[in-house]
């Protein structure tokens, strides 16, 4: 555990308590079984916003607390444990980061306090296919007389069904820029993708969407801004995955300690002990890289890209293995929908894909490291 200050410890404890009491895995099951397209329980999200979690990386001037990314990571870790379904990562982390990093005063004023309060749900719309490829953006943003005209399709946008604001990456004459696109603007249509994790994902079609000058976030050549935003999203996702892996491990460990086979609890079988020891070791390493990346964001370190790729690649590998072992070590019961193991593996694979899979980040790590 990184060295936390008192406020961070309080925040984490509060998050842990709320999650365990108010949003256990059964809460996620309820959301799923309700069949909602929204993918989360608005009341729960309102409660999270009321506790200040959605504004953690937003400056106080715009209704946030400016507690930093390590703090937000602590909360995401806790909500990850029980698979809390909410737009916290999309809206409170990814989209908020884009506005904080690239927004003008008036853009910040227009959107940030709504995001912090939970009234605005924002989503980051970058990819245009099933794989994360931020260099392959074909959506066009063309200057029109009174602003911008945007055309293209964004795929698998998280919270795409419920978001009232999209941060859209589009190609400009100068490179790639980020644009603020309200969810209800004319020419924007959504197509829901019902996915294995039962959360909201949608393709967003922009058919010549007409926006004003103030839609552009940062400069027309915003590739650097996009990178910064993506790295924050990656690190936040890794924090959520850390919580998931830890809970998956704990649930499995508890099961092994309680299940009796051949007159022994499973926990006493040495082959299983060594597998659990290996998983536990992997998770210690995972925690280190995730916390280091979160701290790197707060410290403004210039090597954040390397650390973010290290964190996301490691999180992917570890949660991948952990989610497989969770099912295998539970045996038959883990195969049933009645058990939660399936929830973890389904969500795990979605997050593994989000903002770059392990191959993507290993390649990026190596290139950034000069080999």
């Amino acid at each position: 555990m990184a060295a936390l200050n008192d406020e961070q410890i309080m925040l984490r404890d509060m998050a842990r308590e709320w999650v365990q009491n108010e949003a256990p895995v059964s809460a996620f099951r309820k959301v799923r079984d309700s069949g909602t397209k929204l993918g989360y329980d608005p009341e729960a999200y309102a409660a999270m916003a009321a506790m200040g979690w959605v504004g953690i990386v937003i400056p106080e001037a715009y209704g946030g607390s400016d507690f930093g990314y390590l703090s937000l990571g602590l909360v995401l870790e806790e909500t990850g444990r029980t698979l809390v379904a909410s737009p916290l990562a999309s809206s409170g982390l990814a989209a908020a980061s884009a506005l904080v990093l690239g927004g003008t005063e008036s853009q910040k004023q227009a959107w940030l306090s709504g995001i912090a309060s939970g009234e605005v749900v924002a989503g980051l719309a970058v990819d245009e296919g099933p794989r994360h490829e931020p260099t392959k953006i074909e959506t066009r943003a063309e200057r029109s007389q009174d602003g911008w005209r945007i055309s293209g399709t964004k795929s698998f946008v998280a919270e795409g069904d419920g978001a009232s604001l999209f941060i859209v990456a589009a190609r400009t004459d100068a490179g790639v820029g980020l644009f603020l696109v309200p969810g209800e603007v004319e020419g924007l249509t959504r197509a829901t993708r019902r996915m294995a994790d039962s959360r909201s994902h949608a393709d967003i079609r922009l058919a010549g969407v007409q926006l004003g000058e103030e839609a552009l976030l940062g400069s027309e050549d915003g590739a650097a801004l996009l990178d910064q935003v993506l790295d924050r999203a990656r690190v936040g996702t890794a924090a959520e995955m850390l919580g998931m892996a830890e809970q998956a491990f704990q649930t499995t460990l508890d099961f092994l300690k309680s299940r009796v086979q051949f007159g022994q609890t499973l926990a006493t079988f040495q082959a299983l002990q060594h597998r659990m020891a290996k998983l536990y070791t992997d998770m210690e390493l995972m925690r280190s890289v995730v916390e280091a990346a979160l701290e790197a964001v707060d410290a403004g370190r210039s090597d954040l890209p390397v650390l973010a790729s290290l964190a996301k690649a490691t999180a992917n590998e570890t949660l991948h293995l952990m989610s497989r072992e969770m099912i295998q070590l539970h045996g038959g019961i883990g195969m049933t929908d009645e058990h939660e193991a399936g929830f973890y593996i389904k969500r795990a694979r979605v997050l593994e894909n989000m903002w770059g899979n392990a191959s993507f980040h290993r390649e990026r790590f190596a290139r950034l490291s000069g080999f």
């Binding site: 099933p130 794989r131 996915m195 045996g331 038959g332 195969m335 009645e338």
Partner: protein
């Protein structure tokens, strides 16, 4: 990619091969070409198309659904060599065996070995014709890998047994006509207290509840027996002799399951093709993602090694019967099945995680479901861990008493 050793080298067309070829050409409906559902017998209710029914009828009349079983019980009485030729000829034209399921794969061979003449005459022919579906009543909620800890009781009531208890993971229980079950007839002894009993699923007191899996499907059930009366004639082998028979049946299961990896490879496009489609290739024709490509190479190599091993084991076990290598093949086949499924959804990216709806192609949705369902293959039929115990103890002799 060429399948090398998988393709039989050219052989002289002997008389049987010619007969088989001619018969298949006459009887196999072209409409069914390649339409086999690998998980047919447990994953879904029976097919009912006219072509399917006609094909099944033809195969049943010929006895070729169970080609090596004796003719007097409805089999084909073919030699192993002939059966292989038949399989080759079927594969050649995309034909497939419409008669399968647990009755053919596991229960039939076991009953042929241990059943009384009367039992064989009654139960084997309907299996050979694909008329009766059998399910397996082995696992119980409290006894997972430790099968012998089972608790379902069968009390001796003179002319019948009275069965009470609960089974789980009854594959296809909701569609099955009969169940072969391990039941406890003596609670004072663990292994020797177990008997092998045949239970009519339509008997009063049998209640079946499908289990929903993480893949969304429900190929298995929980089966409850409440005061179910089972005639004494349905006991296979001696009272208390069920463990031996039950284990033998599991060996047949394992031998069949070990084909899993191969099965997976036979289903759908090759990984390489999927990768080329979703990921693309570089200017030298290599799959563009170098990291992914390395893992595909390893998968393809191990898959080839597995196929070669399965063939080798089959050739070595000349005289028929069950090879000691079945645990190895089960583990490797199961691992490869899962590996392939994980690679497939990874290659497809977010598109490999679709659950339903028209935003995903059929093959994408099926990739998601197969991936999840495939998590079972290292658990059922003796988990990977149990097989490793078997390898270590029975094959390698890593026991305490040395």
């Amino acid at each position: 990619m060429a399948t090398a050793l998988d393709t039989p080298t050219e052989k002289p067309l002997d008389a049987f091969r010619e007969e088989a070829r001619a018969w298949l050409e006459t009887n196999f409906p072209k409409s069914l070409e390649g339409k086999e559902n690998a998980f047919l017998s447990i994953d879904a209710p029976a097919q009912t198309s006219p072509d399917y029914l006609a094909w099944k009828q033809a195969m049943a009349d010929k006895g070729w659904g169970v080609p090596t079983w004796p003719k007097q019980y409805g089999g084909g009485s073919l030699s192993r060599a002939e059966a292989r030729m038949l399989a080759e000829e079927m594969a050649r034209i995309g034909a497939w065996n419409p008669i399968g399921g647990m009755g053919v794969m596991m229960f039939g061979p076991t009953l042929l070995e241990y059943g009384s003449e009367e039992q064989k005459q009654r139960h084997i022919p309907p299996i050979a014709r694909g008329e009766i579906r059998w399910c397996q009543g082995y696992s119980e909620p409290g006894a997972g890998s430790d099968l012998a800890a089972l608790q379902t009781r069968a009390e001796d009531k003179g002319d019948h047994f009275l069965v009470n208890g609960q089974k789980t993971w009854t594959s296809g229980g909701q569609w099955a006509d009969w169940c072969f079950a391990l039941v406890r007839t003596d609670s004072t002894r663990k292994h020797e207290g177990i008997s092998f009993l045949l239970i009519d699923m339509k008997s009063p007191g049998v209640d079946v509840r499908p289990i929903r899996l993480i893949s969304g499907s429900s190929p298995f059930c929980e089966t409850f027996f409440t005061d179910v009366e089972v005639p004494k004639e349905n006991l296979v082998g001696p009272l208390g002799g069920g463990w031996t028979i039950g284990k033998r049946l599991l060996q047949h299961e394992r031998t069949n399951l070990s084909g899993g990896g191969r099965l997976a490879a036979a289903m759908g496009r090759s990984l390489v093709d999927i990768a080329k489609h979703y990921v693309g290739t570089d200017n030298e024709g290599r799959i563009a993602d170098a990291d992914l490509r390395q893992r595909i190479i390893r998968y393809e190599m191990e898959m080839r090694a597995f196929t070669m091993t399965a063939r080798r084991v089959m050739e070595e076990a000349k005289g028929g019967g069950v090879s000691t290598a079945s645990s190895i093949l089960k583990n490797v086949g199961a691992k490869l099945t899962q590996e392939r499924a994980e690679l497939t959804i990874e290659i497809m990216g977010m598109s490999g995680l679709g659950w339903e709806g028209e935003m995903f192609s059929e093959s994408e949705l099926s990739a998601t479901r197969s991936w999840l369902w495939g998590k079972a293959v290292t658990i059922y039929g003796g988990s990977t861990e149990i097989q490793n115990n078997v390898i270590a103890k029975r094959i390698l002799g890593m026991l305490d008493h040395q």
